[in-house]
């Protein structure tokens, strides 16, 4: 399988990393979390969602939980995903990059006010 590109990090992949920041989620859970954290702006369809999950898995930015752990969490049999330390690092560096971008935008007076 050829490598899927994560550099530059697609926004869908970044949102998935963020959604897993403080909880393990299954696919649908990720989708809902992403929708929530973007104010409904990004609703990941199955194709995009699982394609992104697959590339993040391959790059070991997230990992799939053992089925046994699944069962402990109860509910139906679903695959749960968890952020790895590399994934956390990646999310942080991406956030830093965006923050830098934001500083530039503010200094160029693209943004009004001085939030962030």
């Amino acid at each position: 399988m050829p490598k899927r590109k994560l550099d530059p990090l697609p926004s869908a992949a970044f949102q998935i990393l963020l959604s897993l920041a403080d909880q393990d989620l299954h696919g649908y859970g990720i989708m809902r979390q992403v929708a929530e954290q973007t104010g409904g702006g990004m609703r990941l369809g199955p194709g995009t969602l699982y394609s992104s999950i697959q590339s993040l898995l391959e790059a070991k930015f997230i990992e799939e939980l053992d089925p046994s752990e699944d069962m402990k969490l109860g509910e139906e049999r679903r695959r749960y995903y968890r952020l790895t330390s590399a994934g956390r690092k990646l999310a942080r560096s991406e956030a830093d990059r965006l923050a830098d971008l934001l500083r530039v935008a503010r200094s160029r007076k693209i943004l009004r006010g001085d939030y962030v």
Partner: protein, 489 residues
């Protein structure tokens, strides 16, 4: 129900993706369908799913594809090998679908091929158009036929037009439709003694009757008869070869490049249309309107360089307004590029009209087909025109022929324009057309126009450009030259 539909749509994904995530995707659909009820939510759900399919399916195939390439990379020196792309046999349904699709593709392809046979290039339609509706004072090309070969029915022209034919057969090109009523075509290679005799006799008769130089006609007649007597023609069974041989011999004697004998594999039209009916005129007018009188482009390029692309010279009486409008819109240009790379000739009156804008006094425009008349001069100066002293660049190609060559030739001789591109096609069409039989005809000059520049014009040789560049590069070259010139000012 909707789950079944989505399950079906999921099959669009590559099998690898389906195997790994198909069940999860379906689960996700179930979850959303459960949580998002109500009409608008449902509509949004389906919109999301479809948009997702459109984006994801091609991407997944993009990722699935290179794997196959990688697999086929492991080849063992010439040993035929094949690869399994899936681990299960295709379903009967898939095989059936494949068979139907291949059948449809094969049928489409073969029907397209047969359609291709009747495809006519753009020039053909333009030529037909002129053939079906010659302008009011266009050439009346009268042809003789077998019965009236020497009967003197061939009329000379009062005014002449250039024919939009192909450069190789520079005489009027045969039109299949018009010749439909004529006998079956004589293929190459079966020219018989009777037809050779007929062609030589008719050529001599026509020359004696119509050639503007009777003394030369006599000499040619003697030469041809001598060749024939020596049996030089007996072995020629190919019409084209025969026509070329006779043309060469006529020219050797007369040194007149406008004399020409033409062979056409397709039957020549029995009698070119000479009557100008209101319907034909209306058709011509309508056609001119539709193609904007052959003005393909009129625009101002950067650095205020005017650009004009004209694909043939239409009749002045129908298109004068269009020319005026085009030239008015370019009137403030600092330089002018006239693109004749696709120009197949046309009416001399339009050649003179367009050229009128390039001079501040009437200039003589030599036309090998017309006696010198008032029409041989440009109508300069044109009131209000500011282009008379601006640099002019004319783009040419080997497809530039006939009337377009008259335009190029005169501008070059007058040193009024820089010609850029290829040598033009070399079709002077100076002779008047005389039909000999279904497959042979000849062009005979019947006028003595004055060529003030040289003994020869562009017949067969074409007009040489001042700057030789490949056709696609001509415009860029012209723009560069124009810019350099304008900067020097």
């Amino acid at each position: 129900m909707s789950e079944t539909i989505y399950a079906f749509l999921l099959r669009l994904f590559p099998s690898q993706f389906r195997e790994t995530y198909g069940e999860e995707a379906l689960q996700l659909f179930r979850d959303r369908a459960r949580d998002e009820t109500g009409l608008s939510s449902r509509a949004r759900l389906w919109f999301d799913l479809l948009a997702d399919l459109v984006i994801s399916v091609p991407r997944e195939y993009f990722y699935a594809e290179p794997e196959l390439i990688a697999a086929s990379g492991q080849h063992f020196g010439g040993t035929p090998s094949f690869y399994f792309l899936g681990d299960s046999a295709p379903r009967p349904g898939a095989l059936l679908l494949g068979a139907v699709l291949s059948l449809v593709a094969a049928l489409t392809f073969s029907s397209l091929l047969s359609q291709g046979g009747v495809h006519k290039p753009r020039n053909a339609s333009a030529r037909q158009l002129r053939q079906s509706a010659p302008p009011a004072h266009a050439a009346r090309q009268v042809a003789g036929n077998k019965d009236s070969l020497a009967a003197g029915t061939n009329k000379t022209l009062s005014s002449a037009s250039f024919e939009q034919g192909d450069s190789d057969d520079s005489m009027p090109a045969p039109i299949n439709e018009a010749g439909a009523s004529v006998a079956a075509p004589v293929g190459r290679g079966n020219l018989d003694a009777a037809e050779r005799q007929l062609v030589v006799d008719a050529a001599i008769t026509n020359l004696k009757q119509h050639y503007v130089y009777p003394d030369r006609a006599q000499k040619i007649a003697e030469t041809l008869l001598a060749h024939k007597k020596r049996g030089e023609y007996d072995a020629i069974a190919d019409g084209d070869t025969f026509a070329h041989q006779l043309t060469k011999q006529m020219r050797d004697v007369s040194h007149d490049m406008h004399l020409e004998l033409v062979y056409s594999r397709d039957p020549l039209p029995p009698q070119p249309t000479e009557e100008q009916t209101p319907e034909k005129l209306a058709r011509y007018r309508e056609a001119m309107k539709q193609i904007n009188c052959a003005f393909e482009k009129v625009e101002t390029l950067p650095h205020n360089i005017g650009y004009l692309k004209l694909n043939f010279f239409p009749d002045r009486s129908e298109c004068e307004q269009t020319v005026t409008a085009a030239m008015v819109s370019l009137n403030n240009a600092d330089a002018l590029i006239i693109d004749l790379r696709d120009n197949r000739g046309g009416m001399p009156n339009m050649v003179a009209l367009l050229a009128s804008y390039l001079f501040d006094h009437p200039e003589y425009f030599y036309n090998p087909r017309e006696n010198t008349t008032q029409e041989s001069w440009t109508h300069s100066p044109v009131p209000g025109n500011k282009l008379a002293d601006k640099p002019v660049y004319v783009l040419t190609s080997s497809r530039t022929i006939s009337g377009a060559e008259q335009f190029c030739y005169n501008l070059k001789m007058l040193k009024r324009a820089t010609l850029i591109g290829e040598t033009t096609g070399g079709a002077a069409h100076a002779g008047v057309w005389h039909r000999i039989d279904d497959h042979f005809g000849m062009g005979i000059p019947e006028t003595k126009p004055i060529n003030p520049y040289a003994a020869s014009d562009w017949a067969d040789t074409g007009v040489e450009p001042d700057v030789k560049v490949s056709v696609p590069d001509a415009l860029e070259a012209a723009v560069k030259l124009a810019q350099t010139k304008l900067q020097k000012k």
